[in-house]
Symmetry: C2
Subunit: 280 residues, 2 copies
């Protein structure tokens, strides 16, 4: 795959990493960045993640071959629909949002027929933000989930797959709903748990918080606004995951209440088995 003009909308950690990866791997001739904050765009340009900066979409989108929307999940669908109007025929639009159901539903059926949109979610990133933390190898060997629907054109799906594979990623295909239910468990619930744990810590105890606590709460440092938008978009599945988690916690609480150490040992052994199987 070779893209003459790659558009990145939102040049933060993810958008910046896509730009760096695309240039490092010779995937894109020219990378055009679109963003609201001039300083962030300029920073991304200085870091080599993009070649040109655009505050407005029209002129950049007119030459779009592939455009990736790396903005907060609550802004992606609106931008895709707005920016699609400027695109040449055959342009492929995709995104990097952590939720898929609502974005895909909002876009589908309203998108002009001369372009394609496929939802994507690269499972990469960190609690950090901004192009300063961009990394050309961020997607290397990481999973990217694509969420086509029955209305997706097969050729567009294959181009999207080729795009993420060219960035080093391993591609999985899921329905938007399956993606969201899975990520509610593997990502959104852990974020809530980490935030709730951080919420129980009095600053007087900082000296007594060692590696275990730091690991367990690390993602609580994520951006609140971005995460609120994710929870709003995946509300039902997160509520379901939270209910399952609370049931698990109740099992542990019952062991403590009833001094049932045999059951406690069994529950911890089951958790260890899962975590060991997952690997480091």
């Amino acid at each position: 795959m070779k893209i003459a003009n790659l558009i990145i909308v939102g040049v933060g950690l993810i958008g910046g990493s896509i730009g760096l990866a695309a240039k490092k791997r010779g995937l894109a001739g020219r990378v055009l960045g679109i963003g609201r904050t001039a300083a962030t765009l300029e920073k991304a340009r200085q870091l080599g993640a993009i070649d040109e900066c655009f505050a407005e979409p029209a002129s950049a989108m007119r030459c779009a071959e592939v455009a990736v929307f790396c903005t907060p999940v609550n802004r992606i669908a609106g931008q895709v629909l707005e920016y699609a109007a400027f695109c040449p025929r055959g342009a492929l639009l995709t995104d990097a949002g952590s939720t898929k159901g609502q974005i895909v539903a909002d876009v589908e059926g309203k998108l002009p027929d001369h372009v394609d949109f496929i939802g994507s979610h690269p499972l990469a990133g960190s609690e950090k933000r901004g192009p300063d933390h961009a990394d050309p190898d961020l997607f290397q060997n990481r999973v990217t989930v694509l969420t086509p629907t029955p209305r997706t054109r097969p050729a567009a799906l294959e181009r999207t797959r080729a795009f993420w594979e060219a960035l080093g990623s391993r591609v999985l295909i899921k329905s938007p709903g399956d993606h969201d239910r899975a990520l509610a468990i593997t990502s959104h619930l852990p974020h809530l748990a980490a935030a709730a744990l951080a919420g129980t810590l009095d600053r007087g105890l900082f000296d007594l918080a060692a590696t275990g606590y730091r690991d367990t709460t690390r993602i609580a440092a994520g951006d609140p606004e971005l995460w609120t938008a994710i929870f709003a978009q995946n509300r039902t599945a997160v509520l379901e995951a939270l209910a399952v988690f609370r049931n698990q916690l109740d099992l542990f609480r019952d062991c403590l209440t009833n001094t049932d150490w045999k059951k406690m040992d069994t529950l911890l052994a089951e958790a260890k088995k899962v975590r060991d199987a997952l690997g480091s």
Copy 2:
């Protein structure tokens, strides 16, 4: 501080690291390891963590100047009382257990008068086990909590402090109860949360578990038996910490249920503030 004969009871990750650190820093002339498993003792000797292996306590303890008990928390008090009988006058006994209240209570009042015991807890280690994972710098700049009581001899407390400081540790003094209540929040609760999260993960979702999930659940790989003993010893404080955590989770659940995204943003911002202040 200079110790002619340092005894380490239990030469796993912590005991092995104490041996390596003591030798690297010239703290101990000779390190004697006592343990139940011949292969583990021999491994620790090969790694240079101990100089001599003992399956039984009597002969090693007879020359003890300082002895550190690095066995599971449910075995420490019994071993301290049993092994103390062999010690010469003035021997200092301490431990590395993750709980302190019950151990200190069980030892105090029953210890022969010719030796001292001070509870210690170095906040170091990992989900791994065994002398293979021992590290001479494990205690470097890490906190070790000492838990004296009104009956503790000041000179014994100072020797214990000097011991851990000689291993590179920063020493904090807490009562056994304060230690246990604090660690319930900073260590034992996160372990339960990590285990409960691991318990919600179906293996079909492994591909979709990225860095955030891995960080949040890492400690769930800890040894079930060791952790069951910790929970049994700190039952009341862990139940209290769990209740606080559940209240925090309820706040998040209510935001989801009521689509109160402003409150959600506030809760996440508070958690981020705590986590940012804690540092990496």
